[in-house]
Amino acid sequence: MTHRIRVLIAKIGLDGHDRGAKVVARTLRDAGMDIIYTGLHRTPEEVVTAAAQEDVDVIGISLLSGAHMTLVPRIFELLKEAGAEDIPVAVGGVIPDDDVPRLRELGVASVFLQDTPLDDLVKRIQELAASRQSR
């Protein structure tokens, strides 16, 4: 490990459900990671700009509005434009089962559904960060 893992936790779209995002942010912080939380109602543009500027190892996106199939593809387009497509992206929220493989196809590295044990989450983020750092 070359440095502390830096994670951007981002809420995109209009929904205000931040309970999960905050629990995740705090859990990762307690696990020794640096957390940048965007706050609510962010656009994909704002999220990608923040990810690039903050030089994060992982982007965690939370949304419970059902708009993931519209907004997540946009994130990948913008990451590519910014030359930051090597940053792994994880998505959490209310995601219908059928959409999980679709998100994976887009390039989402992990989809965290409700009731993911917090310890599993920490482990997975560490793996994602390591995969990027070893590239």
Partner: protein
């Protein structure tokens, strides 16, 4: 409630029992698990006796329909009329949701509740770039009054109460509702229902906001004042604990934070010069029914007594109706699991029963598919049937406040009340509710509770059947889950554009100018001009955007 003799006798009998039978039994068989705290973390005893309610006089319990309203807001409760069975509905366009409303009414639902999509909740039109992917998804899309016309087509607004879950844009929805009723020739004083309009809990928990806190409070004040003068039977606000709970608060915090918000609204309207008894009787509340069965029942009872005391003693209300807390209740979505979804029917039934035993006026029971998507028709039917079974088959409606007088429930009610007053005193010391929000107090308390809860779930300290005990291989979705139709967004975008093309745009522009002018004078009520605007077919997004010029936008400093 009991004479000194009875209390002394109970005390000595308990000591004898503890030293004797209990002691012997515990040596053979120790107690298992953790039973020492309620869901909110209040300390619990093994068993309750008269000594635990020794300081409670019967006057603090009393009778339903009279001060302190502990036992219920009305003297006959469900013996006179069942609670309103009010399942929430909203998806797609107004016409789509209208189908669901008619279905639910045909199934025996007795009230209506509308969920709006995120753009409507946040004040963006469907063709705004910020709305992309969200139109008609989590609720029904409303841009102009024409959408409301479609939503309520064929539904008699004088005959059924309509609750609209809408907050920062509540005043616009209310304006549309009033304009729609007027266009149909309805008597405004016969309209019943509510707009949620509880903006303070948005900053605290649900996080749907547009403007900064102070101008937003002015809009709430305008709604309350307008309704007090024009819509006699309408509840202008639903002061809500539900979202505070869903965001992570425990039940004590839920009640305390909700009441703190209630106090702030009453202060705001009083400052506008309205006498307390002219508007307080129409203030309404909304709580969750969480998982801890007895704590929830005690919570509802405690909330009524707390509000009654505050209205009488702090605000000097004279009318009993001003002191009477009425509430809508919803079972706890957060408790429902994706795993083994049929179990959710059972969870919801138990939560609904606590709401009924706690004296709710109106109830929404969640669908078993809550963790998958917004509810399907079938899931809503089962949820509604759950209420109907409680109302018609269990006999629990026959006796008012059937748990009143239970040593345990009365003691727990007292404990909750004391804990709530303690938090209220703390908020007061911080400079009041608005100041406490600005300082992030409620937000941090909620984040802390949510985090602790998540940790307890992960460690297994908090059991969730199917998630951390009795886990099975993942199964499939319970029923056909709600499907979103991709073309809805396009249809709605075309609809709002057509309305804009066909209306008198000069009139809309002039009215928007008037709105901006009137907004600059904080003493002007913005309801009348907004009603004119929606009649002229101004869209919600246009009204919201124009007021941003005067009010600005809220910026949160998140804490976690």
């Amino acid at each position: 409630m009991f004479s000194k003799d009875v209390v002394e006798k109970a005390k000595s009998m308990r000591a004898e029992w503890e030293a004797g039978e209990l002691h012997r039994f515990l040596q053979r068989q120790p107690e298992s698990g953790s039973h020492d705290h309620s869901g909110s973390g209040l300390p619990l005893k093994r068993v309750y006796t008269p000594e635990h309610v020794a300081d409670t006089s019967f006057a603090d319990i009393g009778f339903p329909g009279v001060y302190p309203f502990l036992r219920g807001p009305y003297p006959t409760m469900y013996r006179g009329r069942e609670w309103t069975m009010r399942q929430i509905a909203g998806y797609g366009t107004g016409a789509d949701t209208n189908d669901r409303l008619r279905y639910l009414i045909a199934q025996g639902q007795t009230g209506i509740s509308i969920d709006f999509d995120m753009p409507t909740l946040m004040g963006y039109d469907s063709d705004d770039p910020r709305s992309l992917g969200e139109v008609g998804r989590e609720g029904v899309a409303v841009d102009t009054i024409e959408d409301l016309e479609a939503l309520f087509e064929g539904i008699d607004l004088e005959a059924i109460s309509v609750s609209m879950t809408i907050n920062p844009t509540a005043w616009i929805l209310l304006a549309m509702y009033v304009a729609l009723a007027e266009s149909r020739g309805d008597d405004l004083n016969k309209l019943s229902g509510t707009v949620q309009a509880d903006i303070l809990k948005e900053y605290i928990a649900q996080k749907e906001w547009i403007y900064p806190i102070r101008p937003s409070m002015r809009l709430v004040r305008d709604i309350i004042v307008y309704c007090a003068q024009n819509l006699k039977r309408y509840n202008p606000i639903n002061i809500s604990g539900y979202h505070i709970s869903e965001a992570g608060a425990n039940s004590v915090q839920e009640v305390a934070f909700t009441i703190a918000n209630g106090i702030a609204y009453v202060d705001e309207v009083c400052r506008a010069g309205l006498p307390i008894d002219s508007f307080a009787p129409r203030l309404a509340f909304y709580f969750v029914a969480q998982a801890d069965f007895f704590e929830e029942i005690a919570k509802f009872r405690a909330a009524r007594r707390i509000w009654a005391k505050i209205m009488r003693d702090r605000f000097g209300a004279q009318k009993p109706e001003s002191m009477r807390l009425r509430f809508h209740c919803q079972t706890a979505a957060m408790t429902l699991t994706k795993a083994q979804p049929l179990n959710n029917i059972v969870r919801t039934a138990l939560q609904a029963l606590s709401a009924v035993l706690g004296g709710a006026q109106s109830l929404h029971t969640n669908g078993l598919d809550e963790a998958y998507a917004i509810p399907s028709e079938e899931a809503m039917k089962v949820a509604l049937r759950t209420q109907q079974i409680i109302a018609s088959e269990t006999g629990v409606t026959s006796v008012i406040d059937p748990l009143g007088g239970s040593y345990y429930v009365e003691a727990l009610t007292n404990q909750i009340e004391a804990a709530v007053f303690e938090i209220l005193a703390k908020v007061e010391a911080m400079g009041g509710t608005v100041k406490a929000i600005e300082d992030g107090y409620f937000q941090l308390e909620i984040a802390n509770s949510a985090y602790e809860f998540a940790r307890r779930k992960t460690t297994g300290e908090r059991t969730v059947i199917g998630v951390n005990r009795f886990v099975e291989e993942a199964g499939s979705a319970p029923l056909q889950i709600h499907q979103v139709h991709a073309e809805v967004e396009q249809r709605q975008v075309e609809r709002v554009r057509r309305v804009r093309a066909q209306r008198d745009n000069a009139r809309v522009a002039a009215l928007l100018d008037r709105l901006e002018r009137e907004a600059q004078d904080a003493s002007t009520n913005l309801m009348p001009v907004t009603i004119e605007l929606v009649k002229a077919r101004a869209s919600m997004g246009e009204i919201v955007q124009r007021l941003r010029k005067v009010f600005g936008s809220y910026v949160e400093h998140p804490v976690f």
